[in-house]
């Protein structure tokens, strides 16, 4: 597992200079606060990392993040895994993948191409029922799909979901050209965390996933946020940042 400290791994090449500086200071404020609680934030850029964490904690791995189904996916241009460690042990994680959508999200869901690089292999049967209207509108564009959010019960009081998702989504919009940020969550999680913690601004009912071979049978909401909305949430407005060189003019 190759992991790097957040401060070492982030570059935000898409951001204007003054915005990048402000974002950098915000991220360091987050990691400093976690550091004070003995928690360290790391990044990884491979699916094996998230698969290992899920396996070690006995959870089902969401198919788009399963390296068995996506053997060629990895690297900072495709995957970012945000991990929080305490005493060298991973206590929380989330992952985001950049996906180039061909056709609509609806089409990718019902044909299971969003879940498997090759859905026509034995053992990958299942079905996905999509009634979320937004899935038809998201089409032919790069998206950032987030998932695999997990926080260990021992660190629940630190409310790690929000900072982790903030880091993952900030990475996505500052490093990748993505048009939409999306995720899937069950109704209870959507109501509790979908907006404030996950940072999405839309929740659409519903995307039902039924994959018997993996033991997945869930009824989820499609959570989504446009790049513009995410930028407004995670990045400071360039207009609000005063260039020191312009002072006095």
């Amino acid at each position: 597992m190759t992991r790097i400290l957040l401060a070492e791994g982030i570059a935000a090449p898409l951001l204007p200079q003054l915005v990048r500086i402000e974002v950098g200071k915000r991220l360091i404020a987050i990691t400093d606060a976690l550091d004070a609680a003995g928690l360290r934030v790391y990044l990884a850029h491979d699916l094996d990392t998230i698969a290992r964490i899920k396996r070690d904690t006995g959870q089902i791995l969401f198919q788009p993040f399963n390296p068995d189904f996506w053997p060629n996916v990895g690297g900072p241009h495709e995957v970012v895994v945000v991990m929080v460690e305490r005493d060298g042990k991973v206590v929380a994680c989330c992952a985001t993948r950049r996906i180039e959508l061909e056709n609509s999200l609806y089409d990718n869901l019902v044909t299971r191409r969003l879940f498997y690089a090759n859905p026509h292999v034995a053992g990958r049967e299942g079905r996905c029922i999509v009634t979320a209207e937004l899935a038809h509108q998201i089409e032919d564009c790069p998206i950032a799909l987030s998932g695999c959010v997990w926080v260990d019960a021992s660190v629940m009081q630190h409310r790690l979901v929000e900072p982790m998702m903030r880091i993952a989504h900030t990475w996505a919009i500052s490093t990748w050209y993505v048009t939409w940020l999306i995720g899937f969550a069950e109704e209870r999680v959507t109501r509790l965390l979908g907006f404030d913690a996950y940072g999405y601004d839309q929740a659409h009912r519903r995307v039902a996933m039924d994959f018997p071979a993996l033991g997945i049978n869930v009824d989820t909401f499609l959570l989504a946020s446009t790049r513009r909305k995410a930028r407004g949430l995670y990045l400071p407005s360039p207009d609000a940042i005063r260039d020191p060189s312009e002072e006095g003019q």
Binding site: E8, Q17, R20, I21, V23, K25, I28, D35, V41
Partner: protein, 360 residues
């Protein structure tokens, strides 16, 4: 008593007898003030000069105490970069026998990282920040001055902050005038550190400025009207002699400016340099080579452009450029040798107006 004065007084009291073995008289001498003034410093009842602070910082640093400036300016609080003291380059005299690390921040301030780079970044940015983070996300520029009068310059390509770059360029130029000989640029290109060939401080400053899309501090070119050439007797003579016979430009320049004219050959995009004037101080091994073999790419590109223009008729320009260890300010008269046209020879006669040492 102001906060600064009280911090200054407390920092002095901690370092003065009976708390240490250092007497007030010694410190007054180190600060360059009278003992009465020093007593008023300790009492916090007089104005403090920056000179006194730095003199004392230098004095304490000699005995290994590098925390004086930090205590005076109250930089112990984490994440208060704005309160960090910006230093002048005289601090380079503090520890002449060790590497000295400087950081230029996004406010255009220069900071001396007396306790090491990472310690400074953690103090200035945050406990979890790293040097690479400061380079990449904040666009800061770091400089390490070595005792052998060389320096290492680190920044992230395309992401260096303009204020930091301006300050770093000024620092390089300033140090170049004093002792600095060569600067090695180590640039973060898409996550990899790439080291450039060591260059003079002026060339390093130019390259750094270009990466931040700033005007290069040293390379300035102005095209002048040909009437200005009449004010220079040598140029006037060359122009007069070559006007009637275009093929005599080279001969005219040899007669009027021997050793101060170069001959260039333009063939499409290729410009070769068969004969090189020694006056400018350009390396002899450039003779016979394509102009683009000049390591300073912008200088080469600019020269090529002007030579191509000169094939259409005489051109006069004023150039201020770093050549070797000098900043050279010169006039250059370029004119076609032979009939005008796209390809052919160009005679470039130069008259140096000013030459200034910019590197030790």
């Amino acid at each position: 008593m102001t906060v600064l004065a009280s911090r200054f007084a407390a920092a002095l009291r901690r370092r003065t007898y009976p708390n240490t073995g250092v007497r007030a008289k010694t410190l007054a001498h180190a600060a360059g003030v009278s003992i009465d003034t020093f007593d008023r410093y300790v009492a916090g009842s007089t104005r403090i000069t920056a000179e006194a602070v730095f003199n004392l910082a230098a004095f304490f640093a000699k005995s290994g105490d590098h925390g004086f400036v930090g205590e005076v300016y109250g930089v112990e609080a984490p994440g208060v970069c704005g309160q960090l003291p910006a230093v002048n380059s005289n601090v380079t005299q503090l520890r002449p026998h060790a590497d000295q690390i400087f950081w230029c921040d996004d406010a255009g301030n220069l900071h001396h990282a007396a306790h090491g780079s990472l310690e400074f970044i953690r103090r200035a940015v945050g406990e979890t920040a790293t040097e690479r983070f400061a380079h990449r996300m904040l666009g800061w520029v770091s400089l390490t001055l070595r005792p052998d009068f060389t320096a290492e310059l680190r920044y992230t390509e395309g992401q260096a902050n303009q204020a930091a770059v301006s300050r770093a360029c000024a620092f390089l130029i300033d140090e170049g005038r004093k002792t600095l000989r060569t600067v090695r640029r180590v640039v973060d290109c898409a996550g990899e550190w790439v080291a450039a060939v060591p260059a003079s401080p002026g060339e390093a400053a130019n390259a750094l400025a270009l990466s931040a899309k700033l005007p290069t501090p040293y390379l300035v070119v102005h095209q002048l009207g040909l009437e200005v050439a009449n004010n220079v007797p040598e140029f006037r003579a060359i122009l007069a002699e070559s006007t009637d016979d275009p093929g005599s430009a080279w001969a005219a320049s040899l007669r009027n400016m021997p050793g101060r004219a170069s001959y260039l050959n333009v063939v499409g995009e290729d410009v070769t340099l068969p004969i090189l004037a020694g006056q400018l101080g350009l390396p002899d091994d450039w003779a016979g080579k394509n102009i683009m073999a000049i390591p300073t790419l912008r200088f080469a590109d600019m020269t090529r452009h002007w030579m191509q223009v000169a094939r259409s008729g005489p051109v006069l320009r004023r150039v201020q450029a770093p050549i070797g260890n000098d900043q050279v300010d010169y006039l250059s008269l370029a004119m076609p040798d032979g009939p005008r046209g796209k390809n052919g020879g160009v005679v470039s006669a130069t008259k140096v107006l000013k030459r200034e040492r910019i590197a030790a």
